[in-house]
Structure formats: C-alpha cells, structure tokens
Amino acid sequence: MLSRTADNLYWIGRYIERAEMMARLLEVGARIALLPSVGHGYRNEWDSLLQASGTADGFSHKYGDPVQRNIESYLFFDRDNPSSVASCFERARENGRIVRTALTSQMWDALNSAFQELRQLERQPRSELELGVLTEWTMRQTALLRGAIETTHLRNDGYDFLGLGYGLERADNTARLIDVKYYVLLPRVDFVGSEFDNYQWTTLLRAMSAHRAFHWAYGGDVTPAKIADFLILNAKFPRSLMASALAVERHLGHLEETYGRRTEAQEAAEGLRDALRGLSVEEIIEEGMHEFLSRVIGQVNRIGGIVHATYLSGEMR
C-alpha cells in the first residue's frame, strides 16, 4: 500500500475518533453546567473542557471569556478550531476523498453523507440547534462510519491503519477525559468524596456511554477508585486505556504478520500494554492521576511518532 494512502486512512480514524471525543466533552460540560454552582460560585467547568481538549488558547484568543454558547460553537462548528467536530469531519472526508479507491462505497457514503448533513446543520440558525441534537448527531455519524468499516472493509493493511488511527486517538482522548475530571474539575482537595465529586464521576461515565456497563462490571456504589479502574485498566470496556492499547498492539501485530517484518512500532506498543498490565489503581493514585495520565499521553504520542516514521512517511526501505 502507498505510504500516503496508509497515512490518509490513519488520519480518517484519528479525526473521526476526535470528533466523537469533542461531542462527548461537550456533553460532559453541558451536564455539569446544569448543577447549581458549588464552593464560592466556582464555575470553571467550561474552562476545564477547553483545557482538556487542548483548545483553550485558540478559544480565548477568539472569544475571550468562556460562555457556553460560544464554547459550543467553537468546539462544534468553528473551522478555526482544527479539533472542532466540523473540522474533524471535513478533514476526515477530505482524506477519504483522496483515497476514495481504498474505501468501500459504504464507507465513502458514510463519510460523504456526514459531510453533506453537516453543511445543512451549518445553515440552520444556531438558536434552533440544541446541544443534545448536535452531540447525538455526531455519535450517530461516527457509529455509522465505524459500522461501515467493520462490516465492509477488507481485513487488510488498510484496515489496520484505520484501526491504528482510531486506537491511538482513543487512548489519548480517554486519558484526557479522565484528566478533566481528576485534575481540572476538582482542583481542591476538600471536594473529594462530596456529592458534587460523585456527580462529576457519573457524568463522565455517561459521556462515555458507559454508565450501565460500569454497573454490570462493578455493581454497588460508584467510587472514584472503581471508575478509575474501569476507565483505565479494564480491558473489557472498549474506551478504556487498556482496551485502546490492546487494539493498537493488535493492529501492529497484523501489520507485522502481513509484511513479515517486525519494527520498533510493535516494541513500543507492547511496552505500553505491559506497563498498563502491571499496574493497580492504588499505584496509579499513589503516583498521582495527573502525572500518570500525562505519562500515558506521552507514550501514546511516541507510538504515533514511530508509526509515522515507520509506515506513513514513505521512508521505509
């Protein structure tokens, strides 16, 4: 496969996963904003979201103070924000157009229809669009594409590059979502264990469509330790760090088999999996959640860099 084609497929996966994360982030923000404010009128959850999505600088440069409506526009529609849902869909579709011949017609259909619908959404007055409509629309579109990939795409190297994009982006995004909760939303120690704290945790689960799954897996009370275990270490939950790391490892394993060649990328992915496998929640909390998550995000980025240098840059000899 052309390296450039592999690169386009990989980025389709990344952009679509990122679009979904943006929608989920917006949902977390909207739900938390529904709570009466706590502490001394402390209301920085929207700011936290911007921090978590890495878009805070761009936003304040354009809009100044974080006002909900502006944040919604910035994270969903704004083309100046390269991570907005609209930007992600547009770029995923552009990548798809470039490698049209490497996609199945159902996949192209899903990408292209999403883009056409997005343009219609953009033409509607913002006052008519509830945030819930936008986030649901996003989840539906990303699910349609994922479904098209799973049911129609040949299980060849192209499938693995798509999967790598999805897996790496998801690992990164899940880490960031947990970080919002742990580090940004609750900066003061005396909030820990409060009603508000538990509400935030539950919101996080809901945003990841994992509320029910969590109860099936753990039962009983919702505790921060259980949730952290679920989102980080539980391989059965498809958005967990562990599940994402295993997906990345699996796709790199396929590539090793297909190409008959082992590279640094496989080593790095196995390293991440081993690091996660040996951990307990207690150890993570002891290290400090934020420090742990920053370390994982760094590792995921490193794997992304190696995948690029090895397979996507065209320098492979």
Binding site: R100, Y311, M316
Partner: protein, 473 residues
C-alpha cells in the same frame, strides 16, 4: 461542406422521428413532468453520493458542484458509428506516426508538407525527447477527438487531444446511472456496452511496458493531487483498473528505475499514466525552479526504465496550428484519404488569413492556439461589439497566437430543460486507446450546451453531459 443555417436535429427529420430514436420518443411520451423531475433529482443525488463533482478552482463558488447531467440520451446507429470509428482510429494512428517522425528524422518536414518553424519552433515541441522512440512507437496512448456534426453524414473534427483528455469518467458514470434509473430503456433498445473501457485501458498501458520490465508490469496513474479539478476521474480510473493512484511525492528515482513509496518499502513502477503536464514531470529536466515532479524521471524514461503515457512531447500534435495539417498527415503516413474532415481554419499567422479574419470577426469563432476549455475564445455571432473590438486588438498584437473557424451549425439533440424538451447543441468526444492495438469502445462523451442557443459545450461555461448510445445491429 454543408453550412445551412438550419441546424441538423439528430432525432427529427422532415418525416418525424428518425427510426433509431423511435423508442426514446415513446419513452418521453410516457414520462409525466413529475416523474421527470423526480428522476432528475435522483440522478443528481446519485452523482453527489458517488462524489463525481467538478471543481473549477479559482472561480469561487461551490467547489463540489456537479456537471449538469441531461437524461435524454444521444443515439448513433451502427453504420454511423462504424464510420466514425474508422475515422477516429485512422486519425489516432496518423497523429502517432507524426509524433515519432517529428522527434526522429522529420520526413514530413523534409518533404515540405509541414513548415519546420511550426514544429521545431513550437512551445509544445519537447527537445528533451528528440531521437527517442517510446515503446511500440506510441506517443499518445489516449487520444480524445472532439467531433461535431452538421448534417446526416457531415462530421467535423474540432480538435485533437493527444495529451491527457479528460471526461471519460462521465462517459462511464452517465451510462451507469442511466442503467440504474431506466433499466427498461436498456431492455428495449440494444445498446452497445462501454464498460470494457477500463480493461482495455489497462491492457493498452501494459502493452507499452518498457524494454527493461521483465515481469507483469506495474501500472500507476500519476495525479497532481486532490485539488485538481479532474481528481475524481483519476481516482475513478485507478479504481476500475485496480492500480495505484500516485502523486509526484510518492515516486522517486534510484538505480535507473522509478519506485513508489509503500508501507513495505519501495516498489518498482513500469508504466506511468500521467495526468499532469510535461512541465511538472521532472524538475531536473523541465523546470529547475519547480519543487514539483519526480527528479530524475526523464533520465529513467530515456534509458527505457519506465514508460510515460502520454509520452512527453505528445502535445505538439494537438496544437491548434498543427491541427490544420492532420489531413495531410493521414495522406503522408497512411496513404489514405481522411475519413473525418477538419473544420476549415484560418491561421492568423498567415497575412492573407489574418486579413480575412479581421474582416469577418463577426461571423467567425476565434481561438487561442494553446487555449483550452472554452477560455480565450470569441464566438463572433454571439458577441458584443466591445468583445469583438477587444479581440481585434489582441489578434493584431499577436497574430501567431490565434486561429479562426467558421461558426459551425452544430447539430442538436433533444434535451430536458425547464420548459420540457427542447433541442440543444451537442458535440462528441470519443476516447481512442493506442498501444499494441488501436481500440475504441462504442460510445464517448456527449457534451451539450444547455443554455438556449449557446454553442459552447464546455462544462466551465454552462455545458452539461449526456449518455451516448451506439445501437447494436
């Protein structure tokens, strides 16, 4: 030639509907306006869904706009087509013989049939390939010949496209969409299929693999990238042929061969069907100032390590000034009389012609020698005084750059328009494939000037497309 002011209508004659259009007559009779609108909307949705759009960059507007598709097919009988086919193949053969000649001994020039200045002084003449004979002696592998009709038996060649004629994806998709929407029409009429095109194209390209290629040749399509207006077509053809679609940056030269960058390491490339201009092939050879292209490509080409289709330099054969000599080429190289006629052409480079052109600007079509796409063109009878005056100045300033032709009475074909069905002017571009053999699928791209009275069929100027049928006997 017949220059009657009345336009030849391809469906109707004095006695009513011509027999080969009879079933289409019934078809439209049984199509109420609502159904037609529904089908039209369906066709548009299909085109948009498939992603066939035509981007005219730099013009603003919707970058994803569609070329209007007119559902009313254009029909040829088998005898009509057989004559066209012979004429097109004859022309494609002569053009290739000419190219081999002018990059070789130049017999046609020595024989005094074509002035040397017109060839060796031509911008499109590529000195970098003189003395080189490409595999199988083919320079132009895909020849698009634009034809217009003015009477039952009167076909004229408007121009030849020897470099990289586009539009063939529309020929194929128009058919696909018509078959999907109106299957009954295809049961009632016996229509020759066109879908062998991609198979023949692949075979043609494989047949001109370079001498150094020892295994099954690897064919690729080279595109300037996804911002190009014909990108859809490039990717469509790559898909149908099952070959890679590459950009210049995907290729590199090493050890006397061309390689593409893949996830498994370099893979050798044997035949490049390029859809980019000569100037952007190899910066070392053509444009030292350019970052585009594949450095060293031309060295590999000249040493027989890769085939480039169409061959660099093929453009000298489709120059509008060289066009006037194509009938002579046919006589000179093939010893035959041309089956298809040229449109009489005045060359402003010649003093007598220039005088005639300037005296008759109001009735002529004036074109730039190197122009394309309907730009830089004056249609005298449809132009204002100001436009004519503007062209007069331009021609006087640089007469060599212009040719003129009579305003032809282009035939019309019924087309669906706002008010119902009305005649609109059409032309035809068939795609002739030249490799070990010369082949042509029965059909082509019919372009239609959808504006009432307009004679300009270019998609950039409000033209649309139609499915083109050749009926089996």
């Amino acid at each position: 030639m017949s220059m009657a002011p009345a336009f030849f209508n391809e469906m109707f004659d004095d006695n009513g509907i011509r027999p080969h259009y009879a079933k289409l007559g019934d078809w439209t009779q049984h199509m109420p306006a609502e159904l037609r609108q529904m089908k039209q909307a369906e066709a548009e949705a299909l085109f948009r869904r498939i992603g066939i759009t035509f981007a005219v960059y730099g013009e603003g507007g919707d970058p994803d706009r569609l070329i209007p598709f007119d559902m009313f097919p254009r029909v040829f009988t088998q005898p009509e087509w057989r004559r066209l086919e012979r004429g097109i193949k004859q022309r494609a053969k002569a053009l290739n013989a000419f190219l081999v000649d002018v990059y070789g001994r130049g017999e046609i020039i020595r024989a005094g049939r074509i002035p040397a200045r017109l060839i060796y002084g031509n911008e499109a003449y590529e000195k970098a390939v003189t003395g080189f004979v490409p595999p199988k002696g083919v320079y132009s592998h895909i020849v698009g010949i634009d034809l217009v009709r003015t009477g039952p038996d009167d076909f004229f060649v408007l121009e030849d496209n020897c470099r990289t004629p586009s539009g063939v994806s529309y020929m194929l998709e128009n058919r696909e969409i018509m078959m999907r929407m109106f299957p009954a029409l295809f049961r009632e009429n016996r229509i020759e299929p066109v879908d062998a095109y991609s198979t023949i194209l692949r075979r043609t390209l494989a047949s001109v693999a370079p001498a150094k290629c020892e295994s099954d040749p690897t064919v690729v399509i080279l595109t300037p990238g996804h911002y190009n207006s014909a990108y859809y077509e490039h990717s469509f053809l790559a898909d149908l042929m099952g070959v890679e679609l590459v950009e210049p940056a995907d290729l590199f030269v090493e050890g006397g061969f061309v390689w593409m960058r893949t996830t498994e390491g370099p893979q050798k490339v044997d035949v490049i069907y390029r859809r980019i201009d000569d100037a952007y092939l190899d910066p070392l050879c053509f444009r030292p100032d350019s970052m585009l292209g594949v450095p060293g490509l031309m060295d590999v080409y000249r040493s027989g390590g890769v085939t480039i289709a169409s061959a660099p330099g093929a453009g000298v054969a489709d120059d509008k000034a060289v066009y006037t000599f194509v009938p002579d080429m046919i006589r000179f190289y093939l010893g035959e009389e041309p089956i298809l006629q040229n449109v009489p052409t005045w060359q402003c480079a010649k003093a007598d012609d220039l005088k005639y052109v300037l005296d008759h600007l109001g009735e002529l079509v004036v074109k730039e020698v190197h122009g394309s796409g309907g730009y830089g063109m004056l249609v005298g009878p449809k132009s204002t005084e100001d436009q004519i005056a503007y062209f007069r100045t331009r021609i006087e300033e640089d007469p060599d750059n212009y040719i003129a032709q009579p305003t032809l009475s282009l035939s019309t074909c019924p087309s669906f328009v706002e008010e119902g069905i009305a005649p609109r002017h059409v032309d035809l571009r068939p795609y002739c494939l030249v490799g070990e053999k010369i082949e042509l699928v029965p059909g082509g791209l019919t372009r239609v000037a959808l504006r009432e009275g307009s004679l300009v069929v270019n998609s950039s100027q409000g033209g649309g497309v139609k499915d083109t049928w050749v009926l089996a006997e």
